[in-house]
């Protein structure tokens, strides 16, 4: 570890690793720190990701791919099934990853690109002088150090403190957070080509249960419920109920818990000398809970703009504003559209959900896109979904998809 770097990245998740790799490739002197002693472990993820977007960042490697997915199946409270499958050549549109290995592979790529990586190293504060972030304070093996930099990239995930240290409010309300529990199970006996989603206010208040295939008859079976609905029954209790009723023969071989911010875009993600990316910037999708691709895309933007800022010698918000604008135009647009959808759906009763599912019984989906699903729903249920009308023109204009677009 040196005293000074061009860029310090806090957190070695997908957002941090892509930011570090991008900045290092631009020729910058980069340090990435991770507080855990093992990158990627324990996971806080259902590990589903769209192929097309993933491939923009890294060549798929069988070592961290567990399953190929060709479609999804949504099951309403009364058991009505809506199937969506991609029927294009090749068929598969998504992967279910092994995040422990994936996150390490990404960190390794940033190291190969020239970044210095330190594990078991936790940022404890920022160095701020003249209203400008000039580095971090960190703890490594019980000792405190100060390391300076021109730019800090906060990629410290859901539990992010980096933004708060710079005066950016990132705390989310219970009603803006899905609280989640998941088991990796063997003997899952599910269709390994489909992701399954179970809706219903009884099984998952203001959320859903998911089953993602993990290959070899295994699956990630998890639940997310809105934090404001958690209390008496917690995510783990509802998951146990679901397992007992629906998967009595499954064997639990791993437990995963975590929170997903579903607050929509926050007001600010930059300060002088600082950018936030990924979950730290609350860039996860309010409907799918997906955040891997958004974190990677934002990490790439932040790495590129860091290089630009350092080249011009101005790392103030004047230059970093470009990052703010770039991610809001792309990632942010989609998040805010999906926030409208989420806010409509959390208010539906089980009867509403059943009738929505039923209205699609004769629709033959040839894609897995959320937009196609919403369009079909809107067509058949204009009254119930009237609040969603605003997003369609936006959606279409921007050609935003569900991250599962096939090539």
């Amino acid at each position: 570890m040196k005293d000074h770097y061009d860029v310090i990245v806090v957190g070695a998740g997908p957002g941090g690793s892509i930011a570090a790799k991008t900045a290092a490739k631009e020729g910058l002197d980069v340090l990435m720190i991770e507080k855990r002693q093992e990158i990627g472990d324990p996971i806080r993820c259902a590990e589903g990701v769209g192929k097309f977007h993933l491939k923009q960042h890294i060549e798929p490697d069988p070592r961290w791919i567990c399953a190929d997915v060709k479609g999804s199946c949504i099951i309403s409270p009364d058991g009505t099934r809506v199937e969506m499958a991609e029927e294009m050549s090749g068929g598969e549109v998504g992967y279910v990853l092994e995040r422990k290995i994936f996150d390490r592979a990404l960190a390794n790529e940033s190291a190969l690109a020239g970044a210095e990586v330190m594990v078991k190293t936790r940022a404890t504060d920022l160095i701020i002088e003249n209203d400008t972030v000039c580095g971090i304070k960190l703890m490594h093996l019980g000792k405190m150090h100060e390391v300076r930099s021109k730019i800090v990239i906060g990629a410290d995930g859901m539990e992010s403190k980096v933004g708060r240290w710079a005066g950016i409010e990132t705390a989310v309300k219970p009603s803006e957070m899905e609280t989640c529990a998941q088991y990796l199970v063997s003997n899952a006996n599910i269709d390994q080509e489909f992701c399954h989603f179970y809706l219903g206010n009884e099984i998952a208040p203001a959320g859903y249960v998911w089953m993602f295939p993990k290959g070899g008859n295994k699956a990630n079976v998890g639940i997310g419920i809105l934090g404001s609905k958690s209390g008496e029954d917690r995510a783990i209790d509802l998951l146990n109920d679901f397992m007992e009723k629906n998967m009595p023969d499954a064997k639990i071989i791993e437990m995963v818990i975590g929170g997903v911010p579903v607050c929509g875009t926050i007001d600010r993600t930059i300060a002088n000398g600082l950018m936030l990316v990924g979950d730290a910037a609350r860039q996860s999708d309010p409907i799918t809970g997906g955040g891997i691709i958004n974190a990677m895309n934002a990490g790439k933007m932040a790495g590129e703009i860091a290089a630009k800022a350092i080249r011009t010698g101005d790392c103030s918000t004047d230059t970093l504003q470009e990052y703010e604008e770039l991610w809001r135009k792309t990632i942010g647009k989609e998040i805010n559209n999906n926030l409208i959808v989420k806010e409509t759906f959390v208010n539906f009763t089980d009867e509403d959900l059943n009738s929505l599912a039923y209205s699609l019984k004769d629709v033959n989906f040839t894609s897995m896109s959320l937009l196609d699903l919403l369009k079909a729903l809107f067509k058949a249920n204009k009254k119930l979904l009237w609040d969603l009308r605003v997003i369609f023109k936006d959606f279409i204009k921007n050609d935003i998809d569900f991250k599962y677009k096939a090539e």
Binding site: K120, G227, G258, G259
Partner: protein, 57 residues
């Protein structure tokens, strides 16, 4: 006011840290540390997926 985190229940996911309005919590490797900014509001207790947190009254 403060909270207690039962470390035998906690799964060190950091969800509580993300919702704490005062920034009183910190996830350090495999445990949660609470500092004196805690107001005992109970938001973390509500959100915890495992029910590891108790508010001391």
């Amino acid at each position: 006011m403060s909270i207690s985190v039962n470390k035998y229940i906690c799964g060190y996911c950091g969800a509580c840290v993300g919702v704490c309005p005062t920034g009183a919590l910190e996830l350090v490797e495999t445990w949660i540390e609470v500092d004196n900014k805690c107001t005992g509001c109970g938001i973390c207790q509500k959100i915890c997926p495992l029910g590891a947190i108790e508010v001391n009254r």
